[in-house]
């Protein structure tokens, strides 16, 4: 029996299918019936040859996953680490070793010169298992402190739609405004251009897409 | 284990722990009761004072029920003002007594609109081993059933308190039965350990003639409609047994 609500809007408690698909995100099962857990859109996809049904939520907080690219904001400096706000109920930790490959003397080095409260970083989540705070790394190319640019926040679920067309969007923004666009999984993106006015135009375009004009 | 009809303490699913009720042991109070259900222990005291009736019930007396789950009773109770658990028990016990008119408030008016008896029922938990609700209710009702108040004579606007004592105007003996749900099983009178693992609970206050005078579902789980009906039937049946342990209704002179 096929899904009754393909590409349709579902609410929590809506019956989505009676059992011939693998359950993906946003669903739960009682006996053989599969129900939606969130307000969202039902999607059918194939993962390793299996037909998977899932609900893409329209709203919701960002829960980090290992491997996610995120855009974080430094909110505090601790002993041996920075605390990073990644737009999630879970505050992330960036250890000192991510910025300093060799051990340093904390009393001699002013950490704020390297990464201060309010700075933005593009990082990757390397560990998160719900019992501890998420751990971030900068040790990859294209990761690091954002030296200039503008930050834009959108709901993560909306972002999931955007990410499908990520390559096109990045290309579009680059061609039209000469800006680099980095899209994080955590509902944030950074637009980096040569000057602020171009960044503002780029942001306007992205916002208009999200409002569906 | 529950599926076999056994509980950790050896009881059957519908078996209540041993109950003991001791009344009138605090001489300074007009009424008092010490109740034990298994290891759960609760004390209730009844005090009377003269006061003014509520404006929307000028010809009735007033009953005020208060409950405190004090640190004496358990390491999980912290000192401080009454919390949501204390308030819940007090209000459910109050409703069960009030709705059944167990204490006939119309007989506690002295000068309608001006003066009446205020009956304070204060319940204190002394040892928490589960099912404080039923223990508190049992203590409150037992204390009320055996309380003694002074008579009053009214001459014009003045009230004279006579030394002669009489019982409170009690017309019913509501019994409260709490049923816990663990998985698909309904267990009567959950003890502390059972309360820690139960999904939800439901309390029924049943009057002498088998009517319901209060219901309270508690805890963050749920019951199916069928379980609710089954629980109510358990409550009806068991309340009859428990009522035999209560003091008798005082005789009206």
């Amino acid at each position: 029996m096929g899904p009754k609500f393909r590409r349709k809007l579902v609410l929590p408690g809506d019956l989505v299918s009676t059992g011939h698909y693998f359950m993906g995100y946003g669903l739960y099962k009682v006996n053989r019936k599969v129900y939606a857990k969130r307000i969202g859109i039902v999607e059918l996809s194939e993962v390793s040859g299996k037909k998977v049904i899932e609900v893409v939520p329209i709203k919701g907080v960002y829960i980090p996953k290992e491997g996610d690219l995120v855009i974080g904001k430094v909110i505090d400096i601790g002993i041996g680490h920075w605390l990073i706000d990644i737009n999630s109920p879970y505050t992330a930790v960036l250890p000192l070793s991510e910025l300093f490959p060799r051990p340093i003397d904390v009393s001699r080095v002013d950490l704020t010169e390297h990464l201060n409260v309010g700075d933005l970083i593009v990082a990757r989540v390397i560990a998160f298992d719900l019992t501890r705070d998420p751990l971030l790394t900068l040790k990859e190319s294209k990761l690091g402190k954002v030296t200039r640019g503008s930050l834009l926040e959108l709901t993560p679920s909306y972002l999931k739609e955007l990410i499908k067309y990520k390559k096109d969007l990045v290309k579009l923004i680059n061609e039209r405004y000469g800006c680099n666009l980095v899209i994080g999984e955590n509902g944030r993106m950074v637009i980096m251009g040569k000057d602020v006015s171009q960044e503002i135009e780029a942001i306007k375009l992205i916002k208009s897409l999200s409002r569906g004009k | 284990m529950l599926k076999r009809g056994e509980r950790l303490d050896g009881r059957k699913l519908d078996q209540v722990r041993e109950i003991s009720i001791e009344t009138n042991f605090i001489e300074k109070a007009e009424g008092s009761a010490l109740v034990r259900i298994g290891k759960t222990m609760v004390v209730a005291g009844v005090k009377l004072s003269l006061g003014s009736p509520f404006p929307d019930a000028p010809d009735k007396g007033v009953i005020i029920v208060n409950t405190e789950l004090i640190p004496i009773a358990s390491p999980v109770f912290e000192p401080g003002p009454p919390g949501e658990e204390d308030v819940e028990i007090a209000r459910v016990v109050d409703r069960g007594i009030r709705s059944s008119n167990a204490l006939d408030l119309s007989k506690l008016s002295i000068i309608p609109g001006k003066r009446c008896w205020i009956v304070y029922v204060d319940i204190y938990a002394l040892n928490h081993d589960g099912n404080l609700m039923d223990a508190c209710a049992l203590a409150a009702v037992s204390a009320l059933l055996t309380a003694k108040k002074k008579r009053v004579s009214v001459e014009g606007d003045s009230i004279k308190i006579v030394e002669e004592e009489e019982p409170l105007p009690m017309k019913d003996r509501p019994v409260f039965i709490t049923i816990g749900k663990i998985g698909d099983n309904l267990i009567v009178d959950p003890n502390y350990e059972e309360e820690l693992i139960m999904d939800s609970r439901i309390t029924f206050a049943i009057t002498e003639d088998g009517k319901i005078s209060a219901i309270q579902k508690g805890e963050a789980g749920y019951l199916t409609c069928e379980e609710v009906i089954n629980a109510s039937e358990l409550a009806f049946r068991i309340s009859k047994e428990i009522r035999k342990l209560l003091p008798a209704l005082p005789k009206v002179s």
């Binding site: 809007l9 609410l11 929590p12 408690g13 739960y28 009682v30 129900y35 857990k37 969130r38 307000i39 859109i41 939520p57 329209i58 709203k59 919701g60 907080v61 829960i63 109920p89 879970y90 719900l130 019992t131 679920s157 909306y158 739609e161 955007l162 067309y165 999200s210 409002r211 569906g212 | 929307d56 009454p82 949501e84 658990e85 308030v87 819940e88 007090a90 209000r91 709705s99 059944s100 939800s200 439901i202 009057t207 088998g210 009517k211 319901i212 209060a214 219901i215 309270q216 579902k217 508690g218 805890e219 963050a220 749920y222 019951l223 199916t224 409609c225 379980e227 609710v228 009906i229 109510s232």
Partner: protein, 246 residues
């Protein structure tokens, strides 16, 4: 004060309703900008607004639960919501209702998905006309869905009462005050789960069973209004998402 007669000779209620008729119910979703989820509800003279914040970080940290979200609920009536001004300090009734409302909503929430966080539900009764706890639960459930919080189902609630010997659905203030019984019920219809059940007054075993059936009927109607309100709000938002593909 003389007790008014609550039923007309034809068996209709003072406001013209039949025994199994709900008051007009209206729900608006997402009206508060700062809250993660919100809803405004009107039912008869009841006016209730609910804001949901969360899941969010819990401060102080020692209150947090290691493997699930902490649900906190505050039910409060504004001083001007009732005939005689009510003292704004939380009353014992508000304390009890905050607890039972939380316990009515929590079973619907997948709390294990957000360990160490808090989900806060704030309910403010702007005007009260009987059945405010049921109205609050109904509105709060919609606000939780609006916040994107994973739910088993919506929770819908209604109060059944006894008026001059008859069971009636959705008590208003007068019927609650002068009637012989009041039984608020909340359910998650999909799971046939009762999450709130209280009673006050005298009910025979039969009245209790019939009352539950009557409540179920009312709950299904409330549930319908909740779902329509959410669909209406979100259908607009999807239109926006769809255009991305163009």
């Amino acid at each position: 004060m003389e007790k008014p007669s609550l039923l007309t000779p034809e068996g209709l209620r003072l406001d013209g309703r039949k025994f199994d008729e709900l008051r007009p119910l209206k729900i608006e979703v997402g009206i508060l900008d700062n809250a993660d989820g919100s809803a405004y509800l009107e039912q008869g003279g009841n006016k209730v607004i609910v804001a949901v914040y969360g899941p969010r970080e819990l401060h102080p940290k020692h209150l947090s639960l290691p493997n699930r979200a902490l649900i906190r609920t505050r039910y409060h009536m504004t001083p001007f919501s009732v005939e005689e001004r009510k003292n704004p300090a939380p009353s014992r009734r508000e304390i009890e209702l905050s607890k039972v409302i939380r316990e009515a909503l929590e079973p619907s929430i997948f709390v294990n998905e957000y360990p160490r966080t808090a989900i806060d539900i704030f309910i403010e009764v702007l005007q009260a006309d009987g059945g405010t706890r049921c109205a609050s639960i109904t509105a709060a459930s919609v606000a939780l869905a609006d916040a994107g919080i994973p739910l088993r189902d919506l929770v819908a609630a209604v109060a059944v009462g006894k008026v001059e010997g008859r069971l009636v659905l959705d008590l208003n203030h007068l019927e609650d005050q002068y009637g012989e019984g009041d039984m608020p019920v909340a359910m998650m219809p999909v799971l046939n789960a009762v999450t709130l059940l209280q009673a006050d007054g005298l009910f025979t075993p039969r009245e209790f069973k019939e009352g539950l059936e009557l409540a179920k009927k009312g709950i299904m109607e409330v549930y319908k209004v909740q779902r329509e309100a959410l669909r209406k709000r979100y259908a607009r938002l999807i239109k926006g998402a769809r255009s991305l593909e163009e």
